[in-house]
């Protein structure tokens, strides 16, 4: 018996181990690539979510009550203007001509006082309601942000499951593994003769 009793099992063992290593290494690379792709997808979704958060923060930062106050005051004054004729019906003009100028001037004074009161009320009410509307709008912004992040979260979870499946599917080549094990088995058998 020559030296082949020593080197043949050694070579077979090396070839078997090399085949197993190669199969496992390739599988690890595929798993790594699948995980990397998944992480990149998650990163893209995270950036999308971050941009949406930043947008809401920007809107809340720039919101102020003045924009609502001007609009509300205008709206209230218009409503008062439209209702003035109805409000003064029977009182806005002299109901008794015999009252003369004195009564008319009294009526005029009261009308002017009521108009001033109504304008002041409109201004005060608008000043109080404006910050409330501002906060209501901020609440809407938060609700919308929550909904949008929820939708992005669903995409994220779907991608996560797909990535997990891809990572788990990246298994070593069974034929190559079998070859490696067979070679190692043969090496053992040859060495045991």
């Amino acid at each position: 018996m020559g030296t082949e009793a020593f080197w043949v099992p050694a070579v077979l063992s090396l070839v078997g181990a090399g085949a197993s290593y190669y199969a496992n290494n390739q599988a690890a690379k595929r798993q790594n690539n699948a995980a990397l792709a998944g992480i990149q997808q998650q990163e893209a979704l995270q950036k999308q979510a971050n941009a949406r958060v930043a947008q809401t923060i920007g809107k809340v930062a720039s919101s102020n009550p003045q924009q609502y106050q001007q609009q509300d005051t205008k709206q209230y004054l218009t409503a008062l203007q439209q209702a003035r004729a109805a409000a003064q019906q029977g009182y806005g003009t002299n109901p008794n001509p015999t009252g003369g100028n004195a009564l008319q001037s009294w009526i005029n004074r009261d009308n002017a006082a009521q108009t001033a009161y109504a304008n002041q009320s409109a201004g005060n009410l608008a000043a109080v309601e404006a910050p409330q509307q501002q906060r209501m709008n901020e609440g809407f912004q938060l609700g919308n942000l929550g909904s949008d992040l929820g939708a992005t979260g669903i995409n994220s979870r779907n991608d996560y499951y797909l990535t997990n499946m891809a990572v788990n599917a990246a298994k070593p080549n069974p034929w190559l593994l079998a070859f490696g094990q067979a070679a190692q088995g043969a090496a053992g058998a040859y060495g045991g003769k």
Binding site: Y21, N24, N25, Q26, A27, A28, K29, Q31, N32, A35, L36, I39, Q40, Q42, E43, L45, Q46, A49, N50, V53, A54, T56, I57, V60, A61, N64, P65, Y117, Q120, S121, N124, L125, A127, V128, E129, P131, Q132, R135, M136, E138, G139, F140, L142, G143, L145, G146, S147, L149, G150, T152, G153, S156
Partner: protein, 217 residues
């Protein structure tokens, strides 16, 4: 076991995690700056002042009517210039002061309520910024906070919240009117089928009957 470049996915994950932490810190900082800004603080002060103005305007209006009613009621009862006028004037002043204190207190409450609502909004926004892609619970939290914010803030813009502080004057005014009508009825009679004799007993309001009737009902 096998390296196979496995480190790159791990590094990417670590890098992403670090970026996200930095992003969260930046967002949280920005949110805190918004809600702690002098502009926001000024908004609370302005809101409190505006609420007080609204309540005071309503209170002054009530006081104007009550003062006028009192003047006419006193005149109608023949009590102008007497000690009763002095007492009634003091009561009117007392009612006005009570109204002012209540207006001040409610304006402060409204202001505090708005600050609380903003704190809640701030916490929710921070929670949303931190939750990132896992926002389901934060979204429902934000929605429930919105509902309570609206309810809390709106109750203070209702001027009826202040109530009527001059009810006693109003009652006195109404009573004086009623008394005057009753007097007229008793003096001139009711124009009914049989009419009423002058000085007839007022059954609906026995207090206005002549002195000899006191103690009867």
């Amino acid at each position: 076991m096998c390296g196979g470049g496995g480190g790159s996915a791990q590094q990417a994950a670590q890098q992403q995690q670090a970026q996200q932490q930095a992003q969260i810190a930046q967002s949280t900082d920005a949110i805190n700056k918004i809600f702690n800004s002098p502009q926001r603080q000024q908004q609370y002060t302005d809101y409190g002042n505006n609420l007080l103005n609204l309540y005071k305007q309503n209170l002054n209006y009530q006081q104007g009517i009550a003062s006028r009613d009192l003047k006419f009621a006193l005149a109608r009862s023949g009590l102008t210039g007497g000690s009763y006028q002095a007492d009634a004037g003091a009561n009117l002043q007392h009612d006005y002061n009570q109204g002012l204190l209540s207006a001040e207190s409610q304006a402060q409450q409204g202001k505090s309520q708005m600050e609380q609502a903003d704190q809640q909004t701030k916490q929710n926004l921070i929670a949303l910024a931190q939750s990132g892609l896992d926002a389901t619970s934060a979204a429902s939290m934000a929605n429930s906070a919105l509902a309570s914010n609206i309810g809390n803030a709106q109750q203070y813009s209702n001027v009826n919240q202040l109530g009527n502080f001059f009810g006693d004057v109003s009652d006195y005014y109404k009573n004086s009117l009623q008394n005057q009508q009753n007097k007229q009825v008793n003096q001139y009679g009711v124009t009914g089928l049989f009419g009423a004799a002058p000085g007839a007993i007022n059954w609906s309001n026995p207090q206005v009957n002549p002195g000899w009737w006191n103690g009867h009902s």
